[in-house]
Point group: none
Chain length 204, copies 2
DNA sequence: CCCTATTATGAGCATTTGCTCAGCTCTTCG
DNA sequence: CGAAGAGCTGAGCAAATGCTCATAATAGGG
């Protein structure tokens, strides 16, 4: 890492529409670049290039690289993007149907957002607010899934809370792996086996 | 990142005890440095310094920085993971017993150094060479586990290969999560539920 | 003790990356 | 129109980092 200055200097605040657009393009590009290359390899020059903006312009609006990530996080909070992303649409039916819906949901929503979020979290610069918000939302989602399970007549497990947590994470992690490394096994195969495993588990 | 050469050149293989020790010191130092500073900030010079070895020596045994992490990961995987595959084989019992052994194995193997583990996982998304190395070792392990499963009379699944892969990754990933981000649930609870899920899945 | 293969050294090269700055273009408004 | 300020540009600096290579030190069989 090159010059890491204090650089707490105030940056230009957009006064024309043009500038606002530039800022947005930079942020959008940054989101893409970070998700694609990771934080360290997501260089400011690369971001500027992707935004079709000169590095000079970039640094006119952000005092340093970290500030870009920070702004990205703020926007995430403001927009509540992940709220929608993880919304679950579980219709009642066979247990297998329900589980399959859960798996499909994970596959659908696990494309872009989670990776960026992971980068943000790993980078450690996460605000306390983001952390708690994420935690709260995660809990809410767990509760939703657990409710669906608890209402289903075929579900027979010792510890529903533990089971729900295990299942949600297992589905999520396997999906992540599939999306990240689309190796050997096909999406369909994995989906089927995942559904089988979870369904049999829940059935007792 | 400075010069990123192809660097597929063969490196010196230790022929004297002295060299073996040097290699070990480098790896040990690398583990510490990566743990302390993270991968990006864990510079090769810093590693060499901590190992009380010159960078020249470091590069005599490792073609590049990634290779050091790769070796660390290989050692991590190798350690214990299938020394016990034999035990599993020699002491066949209930399917549940076998599965529990598998889970315990993963837990034991990961209990040691959460921070390093996280780095390995996170960095795993980058280097192609690293990935193939891991893939090879992973494949070996998969084959062994699949063998154990295939020999057990109670195992009834459509696609043993797919099932094995799903199981191994699920066990591993859940263990990672538990160790790296310890949350509400206790180790014991998760172990039990994991065992239940996998056992029921395999039983068909 | 000597000779050769092996191992160790570290200054420095090549490259990368975060970031600056002098000067340019565009917008706005009297 | 035209001036002033807002916005934009990109060559390039300084620091950092991965890695090489010429050279020196050491080991161990003969």
């Amino acid at each position: 890492m090159p010059p890491r200055k204090p650089s707490v200097d105030p940056r230009r605040k957009p006064r024309q529409v043009r500038a606002e657009l530039t800022r947005d393009r930079i942020l959008t590009a940054a989101a893409h670049v970070f998700t694609e290359h990771g934080y360290a390899a997501g260089t400011t020059n690369r971001i500027a290039e992707r935004a079709h903006v000169s590095i000079g312009s970039l640094y006119q609006y952000f005092p340093n690289k970290d500030a870009i990530l920070a702004e990205l996080m703020v926007r995430h909070i403001d927009r509540g993007a992940w709220h929608r992303a993880d919304e679950l649409d579980l219709a009642p039916g066979t247990l297998e149907t329900v589980v399959r819906a859960l798996v499909r949901d994970a596959v659908d929503n696990h494309q872009e957002d989670p990776r960026l979020l992971r980068i943000m979290i790993e980078q450690g610069q996460v605000s306390e607010e983001l952390r708690t918000t994420l935690a709260r939302h995660g809990a809410r989602r767990l509760a939703e899934v657990r409710d669906v399970f608890s209402r289903h007549p075929d579900v027979r497990v010792r510890d529903l809370d533990a089971a729900t947590e295990l299942i949600v994470f297992t589905v999520e992690l396997n999906t992540h792996r599939l999306v990240a490394f689309p190796q050997g096994l096909s999406m369909k195969t994995v989906e089927n086996e995942l559904v089988d495993m979870v369904t049999r588990y829940l059935s007792g």
